[in-house]
């Protein structure tokens, strides 16, 4: 059984007991425990079920590489699936649930998968099964697999994450990722040059694994050295140290993401839960250490089989042992340290099985001296299946698994050698080289990732570079730190501290690669030998893929799903490659590795989103009258980032009713529209007229000061992009109105042409959209209300037809407000658009509302605006246009100047396709029964296309119920439309109804424009 020992546990505080639950069961741990160590202390060997076969699984590792111990953590609005027990710090009240089982962890019917279907759920199972026999999939396989597959449960959809998150931008000379002894040494070497250094450590404590492994540094124990070095670094102004912060990813041009977990160990304490550091170091040093590889033998996934160094971590760091009778299997000397540690802790080591014929070195001798039996050239044939280790069969390594000896054991410590953590080095293109002596890929310093200046920007330090011995690790780290500082422009000073001298306590015998135990294991064994624990990929799967012709490692990865789980193959990668290489009869370096992609370890979606949630999810643009609208029943419509009132709802009124009321009232009495969102661009300079002639299809240079002109803008390929009224202010100044969504876009469009094409033209542009609040005063009583305001103020600008004619503007005062008034109309009514300063917008609006009571004033929203303009046949950018429509399609020939040699879009509009008479053209549409056409509906004509679908001959672009006319009205683009006036065409709607509509003139109301010209 696994249990807490009476002694040891350098990271736990035995005076502080912590209660937590696992699957509802109350358990106890200590401050400093991880969830993993606390589960082991409570003999909870079984922590979850595997993804595909629902095999019982236990802890394999002690860090981020753990593939099995994924749990659902927290409850309610703090629940999160797939959290690793090994990286979860224990806290009081922690509630964890195991995953992938039904009905319970102990008794899972899904395990049948393993028994009944493991023959079928092999590599490429889904690909093969989709093909035949088809009926089997739908009714037999799919329901069964859906019930059993999947990793964890998603949080409840109705609940919102209770926590907050944030980003933080940080710049430094040298970033060191990893706070083990190598990281600390690299940081110190870099910082001594004066470089600004940031050090990130993903765990809550510094020093990494060296205190577990032992040795001396600068004559000190690792722990003493770590304490001293930390104190030195903390005392330096140019060094920033962060624990619980993982270097998550390395990106182009040296951009690094750090993932700080602020309250995961103390949920609900307030403040952000995670902080995403967006770091721009000059140089990055990855001191990310190495990960031990599992050994591939049958039953290597039975709970109790654990990495040897992880077992040592649990003993030394947390004082727990996974078993009482442990068998150690290895191909290198390091695992002997585990045997010694177990022995010293009073745990029986039943056997050390060393695959090497020649056995181990000094450490092996020490183990032998402790009276532990060592067998060389031997292998594990099989660990007996079950929910924990009970029996282990051993055999000759160089064989097929015969002549087994069975040994009783309740845990297995395995070591297949070590691989440096090269992920961060590789994220941005750092290349690897095969180190045959260590049987691992390590960073090739000659082929580092390069940045904006073409120079390397990532270096590695310590075990992450490849060396495993403490002396080499420390020397490498010191050099890496200094090198990084120099590359960041901080050359070493003359007075440097003495080079660090470290020693491990022993010399080790060379490891021997062992990719399969035993070397020629038969198929029964290989089918129980797991490479990728999380995705249930076995040795036999990779071999099958190779037999089926998969040669590329990237293809094999996808076909078998090897390394595609949330652990990204941290444990399985090299072992899988080796099996594939063997099956292909190739060398491992020739097979190569798959691509390492960020993040190193999953990070929360919350951290990525940062502060952008709730009210600040997205900027919401508000006009100066926003609050008034909001308190007067505004039903909001998003228009870009703006919010505009769609309609103002009165008590008990539906949106539809409100819109109809607003339409009628504006036509009959007086309406008020907040038009502040319309873009307003000032264009000024000696060449401004010439410039606007190029931008608009119409002639703007000839516009007289005091006058307005409606203008169209096209893109260079001829399509309509924006429209609006242009007012000429003075000899060299124009004011261009754009659509609400167009202000920033058209401003940018103008700047682009001025800066990149006509840079010798003297024109300046300024966006004054937000300087002004603009109010459209619309309806038969429009002039009356404005004149009343003037009368109250004792004077103001003359707003009579004679003084301010249609399509004219004037500066002056209205009701005591400094204002610019435009006689323009988008409704067909008598209409003034009045611009006042934004800071007075609300006051002006309120004055109008008050003065307008006797004239029946009502505010109206965007839907009423749309209906009013549609009744008049005015086009709307974004409704009648969609980026493929040219002015000619809309019958706007009158707005295309024939006098100009050039304007943006002119050349494109004579391309053959643009001049095609078959292009769909704008018409009005009236349903025969008065109903409202569905938006976007297509008209069908005779015949069918190549796919057997009916030919389409047009589509609806705008469609409304017109309260003025009490019927549906619409505009649309129809093939040969203007020549087919009076014809009736069919628009199939949804649910089978066919709308019949007559082609009519698009101007439905007041065709002669009598209402606006008063």
């Amino acid at each position: 059984m696994s249990t807490r020992l009476a002694r040891q546990g350098r990271l736990i505080d035995r005076s502080r007991q912590i209660e937590f639950t696992f699957n509802g069961k109350k358990l106890k741990g200590y401050a400093g425990d991880t969830l993993a160590s606390a589960l082991l202390a409570n003999d909870q060997m079984l922590v979850g079920r595997s993804f595909k076969y629902h095999r019982p699984r236990g802890l394999v590792a002690s860090g981020a590489e753990e593939p099995n111990a994924l749990v659902g953590l927290g409850v309610g609005d703090r629940f999160e699936p797939n959290q690793r027990a090994t990286t979860t710090e224990l806290f009081s009240g922690l509630a964890a649930q195991s995953q992938n089982h039904w009905p319970s962890l102990e008794y899972d019917v899904g395990v049948l998968n393993s028994k009944l279907f493991s023959r079928f759920l092999t590599a490429g199972f889904y690909y093969k099964m989709f093909i035949h026999p088809r009926p089997f999939w739908k009714h037999i396989y799919e329901p069964f697999i859906r019930q059993s597959a999947g990793l964890g449960k998603a949080p409840e959809t109705e609940l919102k994450d209770a926590d907050s998150y944030e980003h933080f931008y940080f710049f430094c000379d040298v970033l060191v990722i990893g706070g083990g002894v190598a990281g600390l040494q690299a940081a110190k070497s870099a910082a001594e040059t004066g470089a600004k250094v940031l050090v990130l450590e993903e765990k809550s404590h510094w020093g990494g694994r060296t205190p577990v492994d032992g040795g001396t540094i600068d004559g000190l124990s690792p722990e003493a050295w770590i304490t001293r070095t930390l104190a030195e670094l903390e005392a330096m102004d140019n060094v920033t140290l962060r624990t619980r912060t993982m270097g998550a990813g390395v990106y182009d041009h040296g951009y690094i993401l750090g993932y700080e977990r602020l309250t995961d160990h103390a949920p609900g304490q307030g403040g952000p839960r995670h902080r995403l550091w967006r770091i721009r170091p000059q140089q990055t040093v990855t001191a990310t250490g190495a990960i031990e590889r599992p050994l591939s033998f049958a039953g290597n996934d039975v709970p109790g089989v654990m990495l040897a160094a992880a077992m040592r971590d649990y003993l030394v760091n947390w004082g727990v042992t996974p078993g009482q009778k442990v068998l150690v299997a290895t191909n290198n000397d390091d695992a002997y340290r585990t045997a010694i540690a177990l022995h010293e802790a009073g745990v029986e080591v039943v056997r050390v099985v060393d695959a090497r014929e020649s056995g181990g070195g000094e450490l092996a001798d020490r183990v032998r001296d402790l009276g532990i039996r060592i067998e060389c050239g031997r292998a594990i044939a099989k660990v007996k299946d079950g929910k924990r280790v009970t029996r282990v069969a051993i055999c000759a390594q160089n064989g097929e698994g015969g002549a087994r000896e069975e040994i009783e054991a309740d845990a297995v410590a395995m070591s297949g050698g070590w691989s440096p953590v090269v992920h961060l080095w590789s994220h941005c293109g750092g290349k690897l080289t095969w180190d045959a002596a260590q049987a691992h890929f390590r960073p090739d310093p000659e082929r580092a990732p390069t940045g904006h200046d073409g120079r390397p920007f990532v270096g590695t330090a310590g075990a992450a570079s490849g060396p495993l011995g403490l002396a080499e690790v420390m020397a490498d780290a010191a050099a890496a730190g200094a090198r990084a500082a120099e590359a960041a422009g901080r050359p070493a000073r003359t007075a440097r501290t003495a080079p660090v001298i470290a020693t491990s306590d022993v010399t080790e015998a060379p490891m021997e690669p062992v990719w399969l135990m035993p070397a020629r294991a038969d198929i029964d064994l290989r089918m129980k030998t797991f490479l990728d624990y999380q995705n249930d990929v076995k040795v036999s799967d990779v071999q099958l893929a190779a037999r089926e012709g998969y040669e590329s490692v990237e293809h094999t990865k996808r076909y078998t799903t090897l390394g595609m789980a949330t652990d990204q193959g941290k444990l399985s990668n090299i072992n899988g490659l080796a099996i594939l290489a063997d099956a292909l009869d190739a060398e491992i370096p020739q097979v190569g590795t798959t691509t390492f992609r960020p993040p190193y370890h999953p990070i929360s979606m919350g951290a990525i989103g940062g502060e952008a949630r709730g009210e600040i999810f997205q900027p919401l643009r508000k006009t100066p009258m926003y609050d008034w609208h909001d308190s007067h029943g505004a039903h909001w419509e998003p228009v870009g980032h703006w919010r505009r009132p769609y309609a103002y709802l009165r008590a008990g009124e539906s949106v539809h009713d409100a819109v109809n009321r607003e339409v009628k009232n504006t036509r009959d009495a007086l309406g008020l529209l907040d038009a502040s969102t319309l873009g307003k661009l000032i264009v000024k300079g000696p060449d401004a007229g010439r410039f606007l002639d190029m931008l608009y299809t119409n002639m703007m240079s000839t516009l007289k000061p005091g006058k307005c002109r409606y203008g169209l803008m096209c893109s260079e390929n001829g399509f309509l992009s924006d429209d609006g009224v242009v007012a000429r202010i003075d000899a060299d100044t124009w004011l261009c109105h754009t659509t609400t969504g167009g202000a920033d876009r058209i401003h940018a469009h103008m700047e682009e042409w001025l800066q990149t094409e006509w840079w010798d033209w003297k024109v300046y542009v300024a966006n004054v959209t937000e300087q002004l609040a603009q109010v459209a005063v619309v309806g038969p009583n429009a002039r009356k209300v404005l004149e009343k305001l003037n009368a109250k103020a004792g004077g103001g600008m003359d707003l009579s037809k004679e003084a301010l004619g249609f399509m004219e503007w004037q500066d002056g005062e209205i009701g005591g407000f400094k204002a610019r008034a435009y006689r323009i109309s988008f409704s067909g009514e008598l209409s003034y658009e009045i611009a006042v300063s934004a800071s007075q917008g609300q006051a002006f609006w309120s004055a109008l509302i008050e003065a307008g009571q006797e004239f029946g004033i009502m505010p109206y929203g965007t839907e009423c605006l749309h209906i009013l303009r549609a009744e008049k046949g005015f086009i709307m950018i974004g409704d009648e246009t969609d980026g493929t429509v040219i002015p000619q399609d809309l019958g706007l020939h009158w707005a295309l100047s024939k006098k100009k040699d050039d304007y943006l879009g002119k050349r494109a509009q004579v391309r053959s396709y643009m001049a095609d008479p078959d292009r769909w053209q704008l018409v009005g549409l009236e349903t025969l029964d008065g109903s409202v056409l569905p938006d976007g509906a297509y008209a069908v004509g005779n015949g069918v296309n190549a796919n057997g679908q009916k030919n389409t001959i047009g589509r609806v672009t705008s469609t409304y119920y017109s309260a003025t006319l009490d019927r549906g009205i619409a505009m649309g683009l129809v093939k040969h439309g203007p020549k087919r006036m009076g014809e009736v065409i069919d628009f199939p709607g949804l649910e089978g109804k066919i709308y019949q509509a007559r082609i009519v003139d698009p101007v439905f109301f007041d065709k002669d424009g009598e209402k606006q010209n008063v």
Binding site: D252, G254, R280, H452, E716, E752, D901, D902, R907
Partner: protein
């Protein structure tokens, strides 16, 4: 995430402050141009693996357009330069030549 130095305000800006504007040094064809010339101007773009000349705008900054000479393969930036030019200045060409002797892009070369 790329960083480029804006030649107008001197800021070394990260990509989130910038807006990519596609290929540099396009020659505009207007009314009277041939169908082929106009078609190429509108639609035909270089997509090199290697040296590329591009337009960028420091949109969340000084607002100015500028040019960048960049390697699309290694992302190395050889330099940024004024938008008000129809070809890269000699200094930029030299910077590219120093790293990629014998380079060419459209009809531009070292």
């Amino acid at each position: 995430m790329l960083i480029l130095q804006c030649p107008y305000c001197g800021v070394t800006a990260e990509e989130t402050e910038l807006h990519a504007g596609g290929e540099a040094h396009l020659k505009r064809f207007g009314p009277g141009s041939s169908d082929d010339d106009f078609h190429d101007y509108l639609f035909m773009r270089e997509n090199p693996r290697g040296i590329h000349l591009e337009r960028w705008r420091h949109v969340s900054g000084c607002g100015k357009w500028f040019h960048a000479a960049r390697c699309t393969q290694t992302l190395e930036v050889f330099g940024t330069y004024s938008a008000q030019t129809t070809e890269p200045p000699q200094q930029i060409k030299d910077a590219i030549s120093a790293k990629r002797p014998g380079w060419s892009w459209r009809d531009v070369s070292g």
